[in-house]
Symmetry: C2
Subunit: 155 residues, 2 copies
């Protein structure tokens, strides 16, 4: 679907989009809030999801747990309006800036999926590292929003 990767110099220094999808046909996607710069989530796209996202300017991902294309917000209503999409040097990772208004991006209810920070410094017991909550209040109640939808998280 996209340009073939022929030589490294071309896709690292050149202008043409030639994304690399892994063995499962996926490319990792970093999604940030275009206003605050905070990272909202880390997801994956296949070729079709990338094309739909570029064309519609709304975020589509590949859900690895549900094994299908996932129009972000189609259940919760929290759609992501795409402001910019960038790709990295070797074209195997995507950074997408999105507008989610006052909404949320995390199925647990927080604005960002990255609501906990890991304390830095010497680890005393690596099985017992207590994190700090950087977001204290959920934006929505997942039980109400998702009703009978199963939790996509896997052990």
């Amino acid at each position: 679907m996209f340009k073939k990767r022929v030589n490294i110099n071309d896709f690292e220094e050149g202008k043409y989009l030639a994304p690399k999808f892994d063995k499962n046909g996926l490319i990792p996607v970093i999604t940030s809030d275009f206003k605050t710069g905070d990272i909202l989530m880390h997801g994956y796209m296949n070729k079709k999801a990338l094309k739909k996202t570029i064309e519609s300017k709304e975020a589509y991902y590949w859900s690895r747990s549900r094994k299908k294309i996932w129009h972000k917000g189609h259940v919760s209503g929290f759609k992501q309006k795409v402001k910019e999409i960038r790709i990295d040097d070797d074209q195997d990772a995507i950074w997408m800036s999105v507008d989610i208004g006052n909404g949320a991006s995390c199925h647990v209810g927080y604005r960002s999926c990255f609501y906990r920070s890991i304390p830095l410094g010497k680890i005393k017991n690596s099985k017992n590292i207590k994190m700090n909550f950087k977001e204290k209040k959920k934006i929505f109640n997942p039980e109400k929003t998702y009703k009978n939808e199963p939790n996509p998280t896997k052990l």
Copy 2:
């Protein structure tokens, strides 16, 4: 090395660090500039790299191309001082804010690996998508900096 993942509610809603490493023993890492919020790179860590990063407050990754632990900046001098590490809801992705001063994070020479943006809207020919350079000037000359080091990028 880290806490065992026993049930989903614990590691999604709880305080304890229980990261998920994939089949290859890796977790994806988003690295952003703590001053500007720009994404600098997308990499991977194994357990040992994560532990070394937390303890030393300098970024260590797993280099998939070189197949070894990689102390970022050990050749180029562009080390990353870690300001904060966060983990996402299901604990299978890491977001790290770093200080790189006036340095760079991209082996091609740019400050960020994400120096090109993909135009949005209807795609006429997906094999011929021309991107825009968001960074125009390289911070360093990779040929001088890396000398005989091979380019880590793979086709």
